[in-house]
Protein backbone atom coordinates (compact mmCIF):
# COMPACT_ATOMS: atom_id res chain seq x y z
CA UNK A 1 0.00 0.00 0.00
CA UNK A 2 2.81 2.39 0.83
CA UNK A 3 5.96 1.61 -1.08
CA UNK A 4 7.99 4.69 -0.20
CA UNK A 5 7.95 5.98 3.32
CA UNK A 6 11.06 8.08 2.95
CA UNK A 7 11.97 11.28 4.67
CA UNK A 8 13.57 12.85 1.61
CA UNK A 9 10.38 14.62 0.57
CA UNK A 10 9.67 16.03 4.02
CA UNK A 11 11.98 19.03 3.61
CA UNK A 12 10.49 19.71 0.20
CA UNK A 13 7.03 19.64 1.72
CA UNK A 14 7.99 21.93 4.59
CA UNK A 15 9.75 24.30 2.18
CA UNK A 16 6.77 24.72 -0.09
CA UNK A 17 5.08 28.04 0.79
CA UNK A 18 1.82 26.66 -0.59
CA UNK A 19 1.70 24.25 2.35
CA UNK A 20 1.97 27.08 4.87
CA UNK A 21 -0.77 29.39 3.56
CA UNK A 22 -4.52 29.13 3.54
CA UNK A 23 -7.14 27.54 5.74
CA UNK A 24 -5.45 24.14 5.43
CA UNK A 25 -1.92 25.47 5.82
CA UNK A 26 0.63 25.05 8.57
CA UNK A 27 0.06 28.52 10.01
CA UNK A 28 -3.72 28.09 10.28
CA UNK A 29 -3.45 24.66 11.91
CA UNK A 30 -0.66 25.83 14.21
CA UNK A 31 -2.89 28.70 15.34
CA UNK A 32 -5.77 26.31 16.01
CA UNK A 33 -3.50 23.93 17.90
CA UNK A 34 -2.23 26.70 20.17
CA UNK A 35 -5.80 27.92 20.65
CA UNK A 36 -7.06 24.45 21.71
CA UNK A 37 -4.08 24.03 24.03
CA UNK A 38 -4.41 27.44 25.68
CA UNK A 39 -8.12 27.00 26.45
CA UNK A 40 -7.52 23.62 28.08
CA UNK A 41 -4.43 24.59 30.09
CA UNK A 42 -5.87 27.90 31.32
CA UNK A 43 -9.14 26.30 32.49
CA UNK A 44 -7.24 23.39 34.06
CA UNK A 45 -5.02 25.82 35.98
CA UNK A 46 -8.06 27.81 37.13
CA UNK A 47 -9.57 24.61 38.53
CA UNK A 48 -6.51 22.70 39.77
CA UNK A 49 -4.44 25.51 41.27
CA UNK A 50 -6.95 26.75 43.91
CA UNK A 51 -8.00 23.17 44.63
CA UNK A 52 -4.38 22.04 45.03
CA UNK A 53 -3.57 24.99 47.30
CA UNK A 54 -6.62 24.16 49.42
CA UNK A 55 -5.74 20.46 49.66
CA UNK A 56 -2.11 21.25 50.43
CA UNK A 57 -2.94 23.93 52.99
CA UNK A 58 -5.56 21.95 54.87
CA UNK A 59 -3.99 18.52 54.31
CA UNK A 60 -7.46 17.17 53.59
CA UNK A 61 -8.33 15.10 50.54
CA UNK A 62 -4.75 14.10 49.68
CA UNK A 63 -5.59 10.42 49.45
CA UNK A 64 -8.68 11.16 47.39
CA UNK A 65 -6.73 13.53 45.12
CA UNK A 66 -3.85 11.12 44.55
CA UNK A 67 -6.20 8.17 44.09
CA UNK A 68 -8.40 9.83 41.49
CA UNK A 69 -5.36 11.24 39.67
CA UNK A 70 -3.94 7.72 39.32
CA UNK A 71 -7.26 6.22 38.30
CA UNK A 72 -7.67 8.86 35.59
CA UNK A 73 -4.39 7.78 34.04
CA UNK A 74 -5.83 4.38 33.20
CA UNK A 75 -8.77 5.84 31.23
CA UNK A 76 -7.80 6.02 27.55
CA UNK A 77 -8.15 9.63 26.40
CA UNK A 78 -9.16 8.61 22.90
CA UNK A 79 -12.00 6.45 24.26
CA UNK A 80 -13.18 9.21 26.59
CA UNK A 81 -13.11 11.67 23.68
CA UNK A 82 -15.23 9.44 21.46
CA UNK A 83 -17.68 8.74 24.30
CA UNK A 84 -18.15 12.46 24.96
CA UNK A 85 -18.49 13.23 21.24
CA UNK A 86 -21.19 10.61 20.71
CA UNK A 87 -22.93 11.78 23.88
CA UNK A 88 -22.61 15.59 23.80
CA UNK A 89 -22.09 16.64 20.18
CA UNK A 90 -25.64 15.92 18.94
CA UNK A 91 -26.96 18.11 21.80
CA UNK A 92 -24.95 21.16 20.78
CA UNK A 93 -26.72 23.09 18.07
CA UNK A 94 -24.68 26.28 18.25
CA UNK A 95 -23.15 26.96 14.88
CA UNK A 96 -21.01 29.91 15.95
CA UNK A 97 -17.94 30.43 13.91
CA UNK A 98 -14.75 32.15 14.99
CA UNK A 99 -12.81 33.14 11.93
CA UNK A 100 -9.57 31.20 11.69
CA UNK A 101 -10.13 29.30 14.93
CA UNK A 102 -13.47 27.51 14.93
CA UNK A 103 -15.17 26.33 11.75
CA UNK A 104 -18.91 26.46 11.37
CA UNK A 105 -20.24 23.39 13.20
CA UNK A 106 -16.89 22.83 14.87
CA UNK A 107 -18.14 23.94 18.27
CA UNK A 108 -20.10 20.70 18.75
CA UNK A 109 -16.82 18.76 18.51
CA UNK A 110 -14.57 21.33 20.15
CA UNK A 111 -16.47 21.33 23.47
CA UNK A 112 -16.09 17.57 24.17
CA UNK A 113 -12.47 17.77 23.01
CA UNK A 114 -11.74 20.58 25.44
CA UNK A 115 -13.44 18.68 28.28
CA UNK A 116 -11.13 15.70 27.65
CA UNK A 117 -8.06 17.93 27.43
CA UNK A 118 -9.01 19.67 30.69
CA UNK A 119 -9.62 16.35 32.46
CA UNK A 120 -6.19 15.27 31.23
CA UNK A 121 -4.45 18.47 32.36
CA UNK A 122 -5.89 18.68 35.87
CA UNK A 123 -4.12 15.73 37.62
CA UNK A 124 -0.48 16.80 37.05
CA UNK A 125 -1.21 20.39 38.10
CA UNK A 126 -3.29 19.31 41.09
CA UNK A 127 -0.85 16.73 42.47
CA UNK A 128 2.18 18.99 41.97
CA UNK A 129 0.43 21.93 43.63
CA UNK A 130 -0.50 20.10 46.80
CA UNK A 131 2.83 18.26 46.87
CA UNK A 132 4.58 21.63 46.55
CA UNK A 133 2.56 23.14 49.38
CA UNK A 134 3.11 20.10 51.58
CA UNK A 135 6.85 20.30 50.91
CA UNK A 136 6.99 23.75 52.51
CA UNK A 137 9.18 23.63 55.59
CA UNK A 138 6.80 23.62 58.61
CA UNK A 139 9.16 26.03 60.39
CA UNK A 140 8.63 28.57 57.60
CA UNK A 141 4.86 28.18 57.86
CA UNK A 142 5.01 28.56 61.64
CA UNK A 143 7.15 31.67 61.29
CA UNK A 144 4.55 33.20 58.94
CA UNK A 145 1.80 32.35 61.43
CA UNK A 146 3.89 33.79 64.25
CA UNK A 147 4.24 37.05 62.36
CA UNK A 148 0.45 37.30 62.48
CA UNK A 149 -0.41 36.24 58.92
CA UNK A 150 -3.92 34.91 58.34
CA UNK A 151 -4.47 31.55 56.66
CA UNK A 152 -5.07 33.27 53.31
CA UNK A 153 -1.92 35.34 53.65
CA UNK A 154 0.13 32.24 54.46
CA UNK A 155 -1.16 30.62 51.28
CA UNK A 156 -0.58 33.66 49.06
CA UNK A 157 2.67 35.00 50.49
CA UNK A 158 4.46 31.87 51.69
CA UNK A 159 3.11 28.57 50.39
CA UNK A 160 2.33 29.63 46.81
CA UNK A 161 5.73 31.28 46.12
CA UNK A 162 7.65 28.37 47.63
CA UNK A 163 5.56 25.76 45.80
CA UNK A 164 5.79 27.64 42.50
CA UNK A 165 8.66 25.63 40.93
CA UNK A 166 6.75 22.38 41.44
CA UNK A 167 3.48 23.96 40.30
CA UNK A 168 5.08 25.13 37.07
CA UNK A 169 6.61 21.71 36.46
CA UNK A 170 3.08 20.33 36.83
CA UNK A 171 1.79 22.88 34.31
CA UNK A 172 4.65 21.88 31.99
CA UNK A 173 3.74 18.20 31.96
CA UNK A 174 0.05 19.11 31.61
CA UNK A 175 0.84 21.34 28.62
CA UNK A 176 2.93 18.63 26.95
CA UNK A 177 0.11 16.13 27.35
CA UNK A 178 -2.48 18.56 26.03
CA UNK A 179 -0.37 19.43 22.97
CA UNK A 180 0.17 15.73 22.26
CA UNK A 181 -3.47 14.77 22.77
CA UNK A 182 -4.87 17.72 20.80
CA UNK A 183 -3.49 15.99 17.67
CA UNK A 184 -5.97 13.18 18.25
CA UNK A 185 -8.80 15.73 17.83
CA UNK A 186 -8.12 15.72 14.08
CA UNK A 187 -9.86 12.35 13.99
CA UNK A 188 -13.09 14.34 14.46
CA UNK A 189 -14.74 16.32 11.66
CA UNK A 190 -14.65 20.14 11.61
CA UNK A 191 -11.64 20.27 13.92
CA UNK A 192 -8.21 21.47 12.91
CA UNK A 193 -4.92 21.62 14.71
CA UNK A 194 -1.64 20.08 13.60
CA UNK A 195 -3.20 16.61 13.88
CA UNK A 196 -4.96 17.41 10.57
CA UNK A 197 -1.71 16.69 8.70
CA UNK A 198 -1.25 13.36 10.50
CA UNK A 199 -4.79 12.19 9.72
CA UNK A 200 -5.20 13.74 6.26
CA UNK A 201 -1.84 12.41 5.11
CA UNK A 202 -3.19 8.87 5.47
CA UNK A 203 -5.68 9.44 2.65
CA UNK A 204 -3.00 10.45 0.14
CA UNK A 205 -0.42 7.90 1.20
CA UNK A 206 0.05 6.74 -2.40
CA UNK A 207 1.37 10.15 -3.43
CA UNK A 208 5.05 10.12 -2.41
CA UNK A 209 5.15 13.93 -2.42
CA UNK A 210 2.08 14.54 -0.32
CA UNK A 211 0.92 11.71 1.98
CA UNK A 212 3.80 10.56 4.14
CA UNK A 213 5.84 13.81 3.92
CA UNK A 214 2.75 15.67 5.12
CA UNK A 215 2.31 13.29 8.07
CA UNK A 216 5.95 13.48 9.09
CA UNK A 217 5.93 17.28 8.74
CA UNK A 218 2.89 17.41 11.02
CA UNK A 219 4.64 15.12 13.51
CA UNK A 220 7.76 17.31 13.47
CA UNK A 221 5.67 20.46 13.91
CA UNK A 222 3.80 19.01 16.90
CA UNK A 223 7.04 17.89 18.54
CA UNK A 224 8.57 21.32 17.86
CA UNK A 225 5.52 23.05 19.35
CA UNK A 226 5.83 20.85 22.45
CA UNK A 227 9.51 21.72 22.88
CA UNK A 228 8.91 25.47 22.32
CA UNK A 229 6.01 25.50 24.81
CA UNK A 230 8.18 23.70 27.35
CA UNK A 231 11.02 26.21 26.88
CA UNK A 232 8.58 29.12 27.25
CA UNK A 233 7.29 27.69 30.52
CA UNK A 234 10.85 27.19 31.78
CA UNK A 235 11.46 30.86 30.90
CA UNK A 236 8.28 31.84 32.75
CA UNK A 237 9.49 29.88 35.75
CA UNK A 238 12.77 31.83 35.75
CA UNK A 239 10.82 35.08 35.59
CA UNK A 240 8.26 34.52 38.33
CA UNK A 241 9.91 32.18 40.82
CA UNK A 242 11.42 34.23 43.62
CA UNK A 243 15.26 34.19 43.53
CA UNK A 244 15.14 33.29 47.21
CA UNK A 245 13.35 30.05 46.32
CA UNK A 246 15.23 29.12 43.16
CA UNK A 247 18.60 29.89 44.74
CA UNK A 248 19.82 31.89 41.75
CA UNK A 249 20.07 35.03 43.86
CA UNK A 250 22.07 33.68 46.76
CA UNK A 251 24.42 31.72 44.47
CA UNK A 252 25.80 35.01 43.25
CA UNK A 253 26.24 36.15 46.85
CA UNK A 254 28.49 33.13 47.51
CA UNK A 255 26.44 31.39 50.15
CA UNK A 256 26.87 27.76 49.08
CA UNK A 257 25.48 26.25 52.28
CA UNK A 258 22.17 28.05 51.93
CA UNK A 259 21.71 27.30 48.21
CA UNK A 260 22.47 23.61 48.42
CA UNK A 261 19.30 22.96 50.35
CA UNK A 262 17.05 25.40 48.54
CA UNK A 263 17.75 24.32 44.97
CA UNK A 264 16.74 20.79 45.86
CA UNK A 265 13.11 21.94 46.11
CA UNK A 266 13.25 22.72 42.41
CA UNK A 267 14.82 19.41 41.57
CA UNK A 268 11.98 17.33 42.97
CA UNK A 269 9.87 17.44 39.86
CA UNK A 270 6.99 15.03 39.81
CA UNK A 271 6.76 14.61 36.06
CA UNK A 272 5.98 10.95 35.71
CA UNK A 273 2.79 11.63 33.83
CA UNK A 274 2.54 10.21 30.30
CA UNK A 275 2.56 11.95 26.97
Amino acid sequence: MNPTLSFSNVLTWLNDPENWRGADGVLAHLREHIFYTLIAVVIAVLIALPLGLLIGHTGRGVVLGAGSANALRAVPTFGLLILLVVWISPKIHAKQEVSGLIQQGGLAYLIPTEIVLIVLAIPPILTNTYAGVQNVDPAVRDAARGMGMTGGQVVRKVELPIALPLIISGIRSATLQVIATATVAAYLPFLGGLGRFLVDGLTTLNDPHDGYPKMVSGAILVAALAVVADLLLIGLQRLIVSPGVSGRYSRRKTAPDATAEKTSVQDITVDLAGA
Partner: protein
Protein backbone atom coordinates in the same frame (compact mmCIF):
# COMPACT_ATOMS: atom_id res chain seq x y z
CA UNK B 1 -27.63 -2.46 22.88
CA UNK B 2 -25.61 -3.16 25.97
CA UNK B 3 -21.81 -3.51 25.92
CA UNK B 4 -22.28 -7.14 26.94
CA UNK B 5 -24.52 -7.87 23.93
CA UNK B 6 -21.99 -6.20 21.68
CA UNK B 7 -19.26 -8.34 23.19
CA UNK B 8 -21.21 -11.56 22.56
CA UNK B 9 -21.95 -10.56 18.97
CA UNK B 10 -18.34 -9.64 18.18
CA UNK B 11 -16.57 -12.01 20.55
CA UNK B 12 -13.75 -13.17 18.29
CA UNK B 13 -12.92 -9.63 17.10
CA UNK B 14 -12.98 -8.15 20.57
CA UNK B 15 -10.87 -10.92 22.10
CA UNK B 16 -8.37 -10.58 19.27
CA UNK B 17 -8.16 -6.80 19.86
CA UNK B 18 -7.81 -7.35 23.60
CA UNK B 19 -4.94 -9.75 23.00
CA UNK B 20 -3.25 -7.35 20.54
CA UNK B 21 -3.63 -4.50 23.02
CA UNK B 22 -2.16 -6.63 25.81
CA UNK B 23 0.97 -7.58 23.93
CA UNK B 24 1.38 -4.14 22.34
CA UNK B 25 1.47 -2.68 25.86
CA UNK B 26 3.20 -5.57 27.64
CA UNK B 27 6.15 -6.41 25.39
CA UNK B 28 7.44 -2.79 25.39
CA UNK B 29 7.23 -2.87 29.18
CA UNK B 30 9.53 -5.89 29.43
CA UNK B 31 11.97 -4.72 26.72
CA UNK B 32 11.90 -1.18 28.12
CA UNK B 33 12.80 -2.43 31.59
CA UNK B 34 15.61 -4.60 30.22
CA UNK B 35 17.06 -1.56 28.38
CA UNK B 36 16.46 0.92 31.21
CA UNK B 37 18.13 -1.15 33.95
CA UNK B 38 21.70 -0.99 32.58
CA UNK B 39 21.24 2.62 31.39
CA UNK B 40 19.89 3.66 34.79
CA UNK B 41 22.74 1.79 36.48
CA UNK B 42 25.31 3.66 34.39
CA UNK B 43 23.60 6.97 35.18
CA UNK B 44 23.76 6.26 38.91
CA UNK B 45 27.28 4.78 38.86
CA UNK B 46 28.93 7.53 36.81
CA UNK B 47 27.73 10.93 37.85
CA UNK B 48 28.51 12.62 34.51
CA UNK B 49 26.22 10.20 32.63
CA UNK B 50 23.17 11.27 34.66
CA UNK B 51 22.36 14.80 33.33
CA UNK B 52 22.57 14.01 29.59
CA UNK B 53 20.68 10.71 30.00
CA UNK B 54 17.86 12.27 31.99
CA UNK B 55 17.61 15.26 29.63
CA UNK B 56 17.48 13.01 26.57
CA UNK B 57 14.87 10.81 28.24
CA UNK B 58 12.79 13.89 29.03
CA UNK B 59 13.02 15.06 25.41
CA UNK B 60 11.94 11.64 24.09
CA UNK B 61 9.00 11.78 26.44
CA UNK B 62 7.82 15.11 24.98
CA UNK B 63 7.33 13.56 21.51
CA UNK B 64 3.57 13.09 21.05
CA UNK B 65 2.67 9.41 20.65
CA UNK B 66 0.74 9.87 17.41
CA UNK B 67 3.74 11.68 15.93
CA UNK B 68 6.08 8.86 16.94
CA UNK B 69 3.74 6.19 15.51
CA UNK B 70 3.99 8.02 12.18
CA UNK B 71 7.71 8.84 12.05
CA UNK B 72 8.86 5.35 13.06
CA UNK B 73 7.86 3.52 9.84
CA UNK B 74 10.15 5.86 7.91
CA UNK B 75 13.01 5.13 10.29
CA UNK B 76 12.42 1.39 10.61
CA UNK B 77 11.28 0.67 7.07
CA UNK B 78 8.03 -0.84 8.31
CA UNK B 79 4.53 -0.42 6.91
CA UNK B 80 2.58 2.50 8.34
CA UNK B 81 -0.17 0.27 9.75
CA UNK B 82 2.32 -2.22 11.18
CA UNK B 83 1.71 -2.80 14.89
CA UNK B 84 5.49 -2.99 15.37
CA UNK B 85 5.62 0.82 15.17
CA UNK B 86 3.33 1.07 18.18
CA UNK B 87 5.39 -1.44 20.15
CA UNK B 88 8.66 0.37 19.34
CA UNK B 89 7.17 3.77 20.22
CA UNK B 90 5.92 2.50 23.57
CA UNK B 91 9.32 0.90 24.24
CA UNK B 92 10.89 4.32 23.69
CA UNK B 93 8.48 5.89 26.21
CA UNK B 94 9.02 3.10 28.74
CA UNK B 95 12.80 3.48 28.55
CA UNK B 96 12.53 7.28 28.76
CA UNK B 97 10.40 7.01 31.88
CA UNK B 98 12.29 4.20 33.60
CA UNK B 99 15.91 5.33 33.08
CA UNK B 100 15.47 8.18 35.50
CA UNK B 101 13.47 6.06 37.94
CA UNK B 102 16.14 3.31 37.98
CA UNK B 103 18.97 5.81 38.43
CA UNK B 104 17.16 7.63 41.23
CA UNK B 105 16.17 4.35 42.90
CA UNK B 106 19.78 3.10 42.88
CA UNK B 107 21.00 6.46 44.18
CA UNK B 108 18.47 6.27 46.99
CA UNK B 109 19.82 2.96 48.34
CA UNK B 110 20.96 3.77 51.91
CA UNK B 111 24.74 4.04 52.08
CA UNK B 112 24.63 2.04 55.34
CA UNK B 113 23.33 -0.98 53.42
CA UNK B 114 26.08 -0.60 50.83
CA UNK B 115 28.77 -0.21 53.48
CA UNK B 116 27.48 -3.23 55.35
CA UNK B 117 27.56 -5.31 52.16
CA UNK B 118 31.10 -4.17 51.38
CA UNK B 119 32.18 -4.93 54.96
CA UNK B 120 30.73 -8.43 54.61
CA UNK B 121 33.03 -8.99 51.66
CA UNK B 122 30.57 -8.54 48.79
CA UNK B 123 32.18 -7.78 45.46
CA UNK B 124 30.80 -4.87 43.49
CA UNK B 125 28.71 -7.21 41.34
CA UNK B 126 27.39 -9.17 44.33
CA UNK B 127 26.45 -5.91 45.98
CA UNK B 128 24.61 -4.69 42.88
CA UNK B 129 22.56 -7.87 42.46
CA UNK B 130 22.28 -8.79 46.13
CA UNK B 131 21.69 -5.40 47.76
CA UNK B 132 21.19 -2.42 45.47
CA UNK B 133 18.83 -3.87 42.87
CA UNK B 134 16.58 -5.63 45.42
CA UNK B 135 16.35 -2.45 47.49
CA UNK B 136 15.47 -0.49 44.34
CA UNK B 137 12.60 -2.85 43.45
CA UNK B 138 9.75 -0.89 45.15
CA UNK B 139 10.68 2.40 43.40
CA UNK B 140 11.28 0.75 40.02
CA UNK B 141 7.97 -1.12 40.38
CA UNK B 142 6.19 2.19 41.04
CA UNK B 143 7.69 3.62 37.83
CA UNK B 144 6.79 0.45 35.96
CA UNK B 145 3.17 0.75 37.10
CA UNK B 146 2.96 4.29 35.70
CA UNK B 147 4.51 3.10 32.42
CA UNK B 148 2.17 0.08 32.24
CA UNK B 149 -1.00 2.06 32.76
CA UNK B 150 -0.04 4.79 30.31
CA UNK B 151 1.11 2.20 27.73
CA UNK B 152 -2.21 0.39 27.84
CA UNK B 153 -4.17 3.57 27.20
CA UNK B 154 -1.68 5.00 24.66
CA UNK B 155 -2.16 1.94 22.47
CA UNK B 156 -5.71 3.05 21.69
CA UNK B 157 -4.40 6.29 20.13
CA UNK B 158 -3.07 4.08 17.32
CA UNK B 159 -6.65 3.60 16.09
CA UNK B 160 -6.51 7.16 14.72
CA UNK B 161 -4.14 5.81 12.05
CA UNK B 162 -5.95 2.47 11.88
CA UNK B 163 -3.87 -0.11 13.77
CA UNK B 164 -6.50 -2.59 15.04
CA UNK B 165 -6.64 -3.10 18.84
CA UNK B 166 -9.12 -2.19 21.59
CA UNK B 167 -9.15 1.40 20.31
CA UNK B 168 -10.94 0.04 17.23
CA UNK B 169 -14.00 -0.25 19.48
CA UNK B 170 -13.91 3.55 19.86
CA UNK B 171 -13.67 4.26 16.12
CA UNK B 172 -16.39 1.66 15.55
CA UNK B 173 -18.67 3.38 18.08
CA UNK B 174 -17.94 6.77 16.56
CA UNK B 175 -18.76 5.67 13.03
CA UNK B 176 -22.00 3.94 14.03
CA UNK B 177 -22.93 6.39 16.84
CA UNK B 178 -23.22 3.44 19.19
CA UNK B 179 -22.39 3.62 22.89
CA UNK B 180 -22.00 -0.14 23.35
CA UNK B 181 -18.57 -0.63 21.74
CA UNK B 182 -17.25 2.62 23.26
CA UNK B 183 -18.24 1.66 26.81
CA UNK B 184 -17.00 -1.90 26.26
CA UNK B 185 -13.67 -0.51 25.05
CA UNK B 186 -13.32 1.80 28.06
CA UNK B 187 -14.10 -1.08 30.44
CA UNK B 188 -11.67 -3.47 28.75
CA UNK B 189 -8.82 -0.92 28.57
CA UNK B 190 -9.19 0.03 32.24
CA UNK B 191 -9.49 -3.67 33.19
CA UNK B 192 -6.35 -4.49 31.21
CA UNK B 193 -4.50 -1.63 32.92
CA UNK B 194 -5.62 -2.98 36.31
CA UNK B 195 -4.39 -6.48 35.40
CA UNK B 196 -0.95 -5.10 34.46
CA UNK B 197 -0.93 -3.06 37.64
CA UNK B 198 -1.79 -6.12 39.70
CA UNK B 199 0.85 -8.29 38.04
CA UNK B 200 3.55 -5.69 38.72
CA UNK B 201 2.42 -5.24 42.34
CA UNK B 202 2.44 -9.01 42.83
CA UNK B 203 5.89 -9.33 41.24
CA UNK B 204 7.27 -6.55 43.43
CA UNK B 205 5.84 -8.30 46.51
CA UNK B 206 7.51 -11.58 45.56
CA UNK B 207 10.82 -9.80 45.05
CA UNK B 208 10.71 -7.94 48.36
CA UNK B 209 9.79 -10.53 51.03
CA UNK B 210 11.53 -8.52 53.77
CA UNK B 211 8.87 -5.81 53.54
CA UNK B 212 6.19 -8.27 54.63
CA UNK B 213 8.47 -9.64 57.36
CA UNK B 214 8.77 -6.15 58.84
CA UNK B 215 5.04 -5.59 58.65
CA UNK B 216 4.27 -8.95 60.29
CA UNK B 217 6.47 -8.22 63.28
Amino acid sequence: MSPWTYFRDHQSDVLHWLWTNAWLAGVPLVIGLVIALPLGYLASRYRWVYPPTVTLAGLLYTIPSLALFIVLPGLLGTQILDAINVAVALTVYTVALLVRVVADALNAVPSDANSAATAMGFTRRQRLFGVELPLAVPVVAAGLRVAAVSNVSLVSVASVIGVPQLGSLFTEGFQTTNYAPIVLGLILVVALALVFDGVILFGARLLTPWQRAVRAR
